[in-house]
Structure formats: C-alpha cells, structure tokens
Amino acid sequence: MLINILNGLVYGGLLYILAVGLVLIFGLRRVVNFAHGSLFMVGGYVAFAVAAVSNFWLALVAAIVVLAVLGVILDRFVFRPLQHEDPIATVLVTFGLLLVLEDVVKTIWGKDFLSLAAPPLLAGTVSIAGETFPVYRLMVIAVAVLVALGLSLWLRFSRIGLYVRASSVDPVTTGMQGVDTDRVSAAVVAIGAGLAGLSGTIAAPLMALSPSMGSFILIDSFIVVVVGGLGSFTGAFIAALVIGQVHNFGIVYIPWAASMIPFLLMVAVLIWRPTGLAGGRA
C-alpha cells in the first residue's frame, strides 16, 4: 500500500514538474504550449545522447540547458510574434511544432524504444515497510519537492519572481509600470522548457524512450493544469499529487479503465468548480 502511494508520488512529481512549466508560461503569455510534451520527450533524448558519451548527471544538466535554450527560441519566434493574435493561433502553431519535433526525433534516433539507465549511485533499492523500493524513485520525488520549494521561494523573494507574479495578474499594467515583459517572458519560458527537460530526463530511466512518450504525459499534465485552475501554482501542485495517486491506483487495481479515472475526476471537479480547484482565471 505504502509502495503504491510512493509510486503515485513519483508520477505525480513528474506531472508536477511538467505542469508547473505550463503554468509559468500561461502566466506570462496567456497561452498553452501544446509542444510541452515534446519538450519533455526531447529532454529525454538529449539526456540519452549525452549519457552515451559521459554520465547521467552531465546528461541531466545538458538536457536542462539545451531545453532552456530551445525555450528562449520558442518564446522569441512563436509566443512573442503571436502575442497579439488569438491564443488559438499559438495553440495550433505549437501543435504543429509537436508534430515536427516528434518527426525530427524519429529521424535522428529511430522509432524503437531506447532506455537510459539510472545512475549507479542511485541504482540500489531500500526497504520500506517490508518491501523494496528503488532509490532512484525516491530521488524523483525529492527532485519534485525541491522544484516546488525552489519555485515558490523564487516567485516570492526574487525581483523577477515579483514581475512574474505581477504579469500573471495583469500583463498590460505590469508592462506600463516599466517591466519588460518580453524579457521576463523569455526567462520564464526558458525555465518552463528547462523543467520539461528535467522532467524528461528523470522520467527516462522509469519509462522507455520513444518519440511518442510525450503525448501521454502531456494529456495528464493538461488534466493537472485544468483541474488545478489554469495559471495557479498551488492548484497544479495539489492536482498533480491527486492525479498521480489516482493514476497509479487505476493502473494497479483496474488496468483496463485506468485512463478513465483521471478523466472522470476532472469532469467531477469541473462540475463542482468550473474554474478548477484554485478557482483562478480560466
């Protein structure tokens, strides 16, 4: 039972890291990046390529850096030019990017499943309540907690965090106060994409790498973001915890209907609170 809860925390942690990137980008740009799952997937593959010539830890850093750079490019050439258009345009363009990125990865690394080994340092297992549990999975939970902690401190105490919070309440007024929202946005999208790279890398030893690995988790992270209340960090955190648990519970006890549970939960939450748990701006 405890093991199941821990496994739920692992998936919830991955979802949180991915979803919080979506929330950050939404706060600044008022758009949702449909290519976010692809960034997760690209992160996993970059890590795979770097790990092949060095080690896991360098691969992790490389994936975050490469994805952060990709994020800056994405902001400069997609989100910024389209910021005065209908958000639907950005959705469609990022959806197009999703198709392109998957195809690029398929061309470079092929369609077959690849695997990235967990670092030797974390390869063992520990005994929890009489059952064994991989140390690596505990590390994933720890990373998610650190990300949550780091982000909330950053948002609360740093100057740029202040700008981010201000922009997510009202980008226009924030701009009028002299904040360069384009620069803040480039930083924020870089962080969001970098987190997707982080999530993709630490997920890689847990699941097989494939060009379509991003789409499944993208959909779950969308559920997290909407259930949490679009644009809410706290909401995303709570929703990721809950969805991680029910997802894992479903897979263990009713595998044939596992995908329906997060979905039905989402419908139930939306009947109860149409703007999500945090009840923010939907």
């Binding site: 959705v91 959806f95 044939w256 419908v267």
Partner: protein
C-alpha cells in the same frame, strides 16, 4: 479578435444552396467518370475525412473553440456500430444508435466542458479523446484492444445490399450525398435564430447573458451537433471498412481533422470539407515521396495558421470576390 473563426458576412450566402446543389450533382457524376478503383477509394476516404473535418470546423466556427478530441465521437460511432451488432441488435437500429449515442454523450459532456472556454477547453478535449482511446485499447474483453474488431454486418441493411456500402463507386455516392446534406443542414442551422445566437455568445458570452440568454446550453448543443457530424463520419467509416480499431479514437486523428479544418478555412461552413479533401490528397501524394509525413503536416499547419488564417476557402472567396467584383463563392 477571432481572426481564425471570424464572423461571416451574410450577403455572401445568397445563392449558396444553388451552388451546393450544382456541386452535389457534379460530385454524383464523378463515379461514372473516374474509372480507376484506387482513385475512387481515395475519393471515398477523402469524403469521409471531409465529414469529420466539417464537424470539427463547425464547432470552431460557432463556438470559437478548438477541439482536439473529436476523433472520440468518430471512433465511438464506429465502435458502437460494431459492438451493438455484436450484442445482437438489428443492424439498422445499431446504425441509428451509432450516431445517437455519441451525440447524447457529447451533449452531457458538453454541459460540463463548454463552461471552460479558450485554451483550457482545447486541453480538456484532448483528455476526452485520450480517455476513450485508452479504454478501448486496454479493455480487451470488450473490443479486442489493439487488434480492432471486424463488424458483422448482415447481407442487407435498410433493404440495401451491404456491398453498396463497401464498394468505392457506390459508397462514394453515399458519402458525398451525406457530406452535401451535412453542409446544407449546418448552413441552414448557422443562419437560423439559434445559429446567430451562438455566434453572439461566441463573440461575447457575458453580454449575451446580460441580455437574458442562457449561454451554456446553446454552446453544449453546438458541441453535440458537431459531435453528431463526426459520429456520422465514423458510421460511414465503419460501413465502408467493416472494421474498427483504436486508431479511430486516437487524438492524432482529432489533430488531423483540426488541421483539415484550418487548411480549408473554418469561418466557412464548407471550408473544412474542402480542407479535408486537400489534406487527404496531399497526404497521399506526400506519402509516396517522404517518410516525414508528420513534419510535412506540422509545417503546413504552422504556415497556414500564420500566413493564411482564413484557409484555402477564405483565399478562394477572396479571389472569387476580386474576379466577380463583389459576389463570390
């Protein structure tokens, strides 16, 4: 604000049924002119795709929301046909229910999810499609999972030989007439009081509410109607192929339908159908030359969204207006 799904002008619509009738009749002549069975097969598949795209496009036009999940209704209709016949219902009843059940489901679901607007709505629709895809993929006892299931049609359906629905030449006629009928029906609906009300809600929901209209139900009804059109497409698919697999529910099919609608121009009722036909023939041509089909459509989608937000249909209307000095079709 909504460039992609901007309000239509009313004057342009005069004479639309006449043009549609001419096109409908012209299409009916095609099976007699085209001899190649391969081309006829492609035309039939393209027309089924066009029905699907029309459903997705209608939602975008009337509600201003983008669905990434309408393959769910397409696939559910196909699965409903297969399963209801398997459970022993008469094929005629199964066929009717195959459209009715997904439509009712969409109405129920619509009441919940149309309250979410904009980008969040698109995210939810993706989750809808994925949930059903996974259900049919994993619940092997029900529907054979990834292997899909053959549909045990009887020899005659509605007094017609089942072969009529499975041979390209005759099935093209059925699909073509269905497409023309759907477009005409949606055109009439869009012009009706209800149609203009939903456009008003799309433009400004708050204002529509302040002048005393309920706004959730009309949006949910539009959602259900667009689902019904996609379900009809799924039914045609099931009749034609006699087989259904989880691929019919996958979000990538929803994505393709959306891309068809965008290429064709969703501000026009007939735009998505045009997009569906264009898409299908590009896909077939590109498939012969490149393995990078997803990248080709991805780039096409980006270019059309950025450079041609009103789609090929919008371009045709513009060219027609220029050539005809005002009136165009």
């Amino acid at each position: 604000m909504t460039d992609i799904a901007a309000a239509p002008s009313r004057s342009r619509n005069v004479g639309f049924p006449a043009v549609l009738a001419v096109l409908g009749a012209a299409g009916c002549a095609l099976p007699f002119l085209v001899q190649s069975p391969l081309l006829l097969t492609l035309m039939t598949q393209a027309t089924i795709n066009a029905v699907l795209a029309t459903g997705v496009g209608f939602l975008l036009r009337q509600n201003g929301t983008v669905s990434f999940g309408h393959a769910a209704f397409f696939g559910l209709a196909a699965y409903a046909t297969a399963l209801l016949i398997k459970f022993g219902l008469p094929a005629e009843l199964a066929i009717v229910l195959a459209v009715v059940l997904p439509t009712l489901l969409a109405l129920l679901l619509g009441v919940v999810i149309v309250r979410i607007t904009g980008v969040a709505f698109s995210m939810l629709t993706l989750a809808v499609a994925q949930a059903f895809h996974e259900l049919f993929l994993k619940w092997r006892e029900l529907a054979n999972g990834d292997d899909g299931m053959a549909i045990a049609f009887p020899a005659k359906v509605f007094g017609l030989d089942i072969a009529i629905f499975q041979q390209p030449a005759s099935m093209f006629l059925v699909c073509w007439l269905a497409l023309v009928g759907v477009i005409l029906g949606l055109w009439l609906l869009a012009r009706s009081r209800f149609g203009t009300l939903t456009l008003a809600i799309r433009e400004n929901e708050e204002r529509a509410r302040y002048i005393g209209y309920r706004t959730v139900l009309p949006r949910a009804i539009i959602y259900a109607i667009s689902a019904a059109v996609c379900a009809l497409g799924g039914l045609l698919f099931a009749l034609y192929n006699g087989f259904v697999s989880p691929g019919t529910l996958h979000w990538s099919l929803s994505g393709e339908a959306l891309i068809m609608a965008i290429i064709g121009g969703p501000r026009l009722i007939w735009g998505p159908a045009l997009g569906g036909v264009i898409f299908f023939f590009i896909k077939n041509a590109a498939g012969d030359f490149t393995d990078h089909w997803p990248a080709v459509i991805g780039i096409t989608l980006i270019l059309v969204t950025v450079l041609l937000p009103r789609g090929v249909g919008g371009l045709l209307v513009w060219l027609g207006r220029r050539a005809g000095g005002g009136r165009g079709e």
